[in-house]
């Protein structure tokens, strides 16, 4: 049977290389670095007037193609729910012991609010600076992960996280439905565009990014919780 193993490996290599070769051939016909934009041109030039965000990418992510972002947020939600579902059998035993010293424990307590603030800042300013809901939410989650590392007994408030997760998601959906009520189209912006470059500008982008940041933060923290503590619910 040893020969069979080699057959598999060679076949696998052959398939992968063949596909890679076809891909490379195709890519070589796409000139790198040239301006081939079509749809994006309008985004770049019209966006300050239509959306009002200084960060063009944010304008696309949240407004022009906000539907994709809604889907993406939902995918993360699916992952969090799926992880909780699959790892739920055993109740609440901490499986990743960490021994830490007083220095780490104190340091974590001091850092916690700072990290949370950084994360919060990033997602609140998503329409003005690089970043936005997703990186901001990840940073917020990492603050909670820090607590898990430092304190073995630490348990994130799971029900609270679920509540936040659900409410944040609903905020996004409600913003979308407002578009249906006012204009007959999902996710059409009903909020004022404000002054370009200020915090309260760009319509619903700050609202959505805060919602996304909260959702991502609570979801990732929940996923880590489920993996470390095997999903014991604090009900």
């Amino acid at each position: 049977m040893k020969k069979l193993k080699y057959v598999y490996k060679i076949a696998g290599l052959a398939i992968a290389v063949l596909l890679g070769y076809m891909l490379l051939q195709a890519l070589m016909e796409i000139p790198f670095g040239t301006n081939r934009m079509f749809v994006a041109e309008r985004f770049i030039f019209e966006e300050p007037y239509e959306v009002g965000a200084a960060n063009t990418v944010t304008a696309i992510v949240v407004n022009y193609r906000g539907f994709d972002t809604l889907g993406e947020v939902t995918v993360l939600f699916i992952a969090a729910t799926g992880v909780a579902l699959l790892l739920h059998r055993e109740r609440g035993i901490r499986l990743a012991p960490t021994e830490t010293t007083l220095v780490v424990k104190t340091g974590a307590r001091v850092l916690l609010p700072a990290v949370l603030l950084v994360g919060l800042y990033i997602f609140v300013h998503g329409h003005l600076t690089p970043g936005g809901g997703f990186p901001g939410g990840v940073i917020v989650a990492s603050a909670l992960i820090l607590m898990y590392f430092a304190y073995e007994e630490y348990v994130a408030p799971r029900s609270m996280l679920h509540l936040l997760e659900g409410i944040a998601g609903l905020v996004f959906v409600i913003v979308g439905i407002l578009g249906i009520i006012v204009y007959g189209r999902f996710l059409q912006n009903v909020f004022p565009l404000g002054d370009f470059g200020r915090l309260f500008s760009a319509g619903f982008i700050p609202i959505v990014y805060v919602a996304i940041g909260t959702k991502v933060g609570s979801e990732l923290a929940g996923i880590i919780h489920d993996m470390i503590r095997r999903g014991g619910e604090s009900e």
């Binding site: 994709d68 729910t81 659900g166 999902f186």
Partner: protein
């Protein structure tokens, strides 16, 4: 105040899922009603969209941005029809959640189910190729979790295989999308139609190749079907039915949509690809039906039958023949409806007799006529017997194929005969033969309702298939006539 727009289908499922998440730690009991309520709502919405689709198809520009700048949801005859079937199948499956007080895990199961339906619904309605990727992932990632939730090692193994195959497939599709965007600068299906001729040959070929590999995997076509038999055996029965009836059908739709509409202008490559797809379909049909013949496990048999059916449906879809195409759509419905009771019944076998081996459960349903009837009806539907819907599907498919490809029609006919053989054998074993097992199986009222609801639908549509014909014909026109699709998608027709 609230106009009937396709996004309501998405928003309702999403809102329902979020509400359930927020509320479940506090009032779990009430959550079990949410999926059924939301899905019933979606059935009504998609029905309304379908009824309008032939005269005034509804198109929604998400965010208010007109395509190709914004994403559009196109409720044409094809999209609304599929959305309706998806919602209907999902609704009836969701009734099974009403049986008991849900545990914490079961609430999550329901949420994931709703989100998979969301993915499938969005997939068939979207007019944007990247948005399609997002909905594909939504549909399949939740399915991975649903499958992995199956009993013990089987569930985990099946879930893992499905995840691997599906993720690679999705990545391949994404490569295809990026190749297209990098060359043409747009992501909107309707907009891309006219730009396609600007694609360099190598890029077009690679794009089509990766697309086909990706979605052939998702549609369980030979030889990329490897994940499917395990999923059908290892996943919870309702999930198996859902994958077979909804996910696979949605994936087949994508293949049809791309090659009929998006790539419409690339004539030479397109004809080659249609030929390849037809070949794949035929091979899949032959493979699926033949292997099903030697199966002893009830669910594995149904799984290979599903693969075979997917092959037949694909052949009809890509034949470019109206009769065959409509037959394929009818088979999507018939197959989707029939497989649910058939799969769900394996639960009775497992719970009462502890095995799915058909050799060991002779006469299992003989004393339980309430179960035997839907079992027989479902099987006959798949075989293509009147008065069930499957009859019209098979008839139109084979007749349509015979007009241009008589040999293929003959192959499909032979495959159907093989299908008949093993279904009748299964029925003989489970319903007719005498066995030592003569338990009176306890059945929940809810389950009976589900089985007989599908039975009723199959009979009604079997007797009155003309209820569907204008929409199916409209679907064919929408796909095969790109200028019609473009007009609809860009909002020139209707609202």
């Amino acid at each position: 105040m609230v106009t009937i727009v396709p996004s309501l289908i998405i928003a309702s499922l999403l809102g329902g899922a979020f509400v359930m998440t927020a509320v479940a730690p506090f009032i779990r009991r009430m959550t079990k009603y949410v999926p059924s309520i939301v899905l019933l709502f979606n059935v009504l919405i998609s029905l309304r969209l379908l009824l309008k689709s032939t005269n005034e198809p509804v198109v929604e520009f998400i965010g208010g941005w007109e395509p190709p700048y914004g994403i559009n949801l196109v409720a044409g005859p094809m999209g609304s029809f599929l959305a309706l079937i998806i919602s209907l199948i999902a609704f009836l499956i969701s009734l099974s959640f009403l049986k008991y007080e849900p545990t914490v895990e079961e609430v999550k199961f329901m949420i994931l189910f709703m989100l998979s339906v969301l993915g499938a619904s969005g997939l068939v309605l979207t007019g944007d190729i990247f948005n399609l990727f997002v909905f594909l992932e939504l549909m399949t990632i939740s399915a991975y979790a649903l499958v992995a939730y199956g009993r013990g090692g089987e569930g985990a193994e099946a879930g893992f295989k499905y995840l691997l195959a599906g993720s690679v497939a999705a990545n391949f599709y994404l490569i295809s999308v990026i190749l297209i965007y990098a060359s043409l600068g747009s992501l909107n299906m309707a907009d891309l139609v006219s730009r396609m001729t600007m694609l360099k040959y190598g890029v077009a070929l690679a794009s089509m190749l990766f697309l086909v590999i990706g979605f052939a995997t998702e549609s369980e076509l030979f030889p990329l079907h490897g994940w499917a038999p395990d999923v059908y055996t290892g996943a919870p029965p309702s999930v198996a039915a859902f994958v077979s009836g909804v996910l696979v059908s949605a994936s087949l739709y994508v293949l049809a949509r791309f090659f009929y509409t998006v790539f419409a202008e690339l004539n030479a490559l397109r004809s080659e690809m249609f030929a390849i797809l037809m070949l794949l379909g035929v091979l899949t049909a032959i493979f699926g039906e033949t292997v099903a013949l030697v199966q002893r496990d009830y669910r594995r048999m149904l799984g290979y039958s599903s693969i075979g059916a997917a092959g037949m449906i694909l052949v009809g879809l890509v034949s470019e023949i109206p009769y065959a195409f409509i037959g394929a759509l009818l088979l999507i419905v018939a197959h989707g409806f029939a497989k649910v009771p058939l799969f769900m019944m394996s639960k009775h076998l497992e719970e009462n007799y502890g095995t799915r081996d058909m050799e060991k459960v002779k006469g299992a349903f003989k004393a339980n006529s309430k179960l035997a009837i839907p079992l027989v009806a479902g099987s006959l539907t798949i075989l293509g017997m009147p008065p069930f819907l499957g009859f019209w599907g098979k008839l139109l498919l084979i007749y349509g194929l015979a007009l241009k490809y008589p040999i293929i029609a003959l192959i499909i006919l032979l495959a159907s005969i093989v299908e008949a053989a093993y279904y009748l054998r299964m029925l003989h074993r489970l319903v007719i033969q005498d066995g030592e097992l003569k338990k009176q199986i306890k059945i929940d009222t809810v389950e009976l309702v589900i089985y007989y609801a599908f039975l009723a639908l199959l009979i009604i549509l079997g007797i009155l298939p003309m209820l569907l014909s204008p929409y199916l014909a409209g679907a064919f026109i929408e796909l095969s006539n790109p200028s019609f699709y473009i007009k609809v998608a860009m909002g020139v027709m209707g609202g």
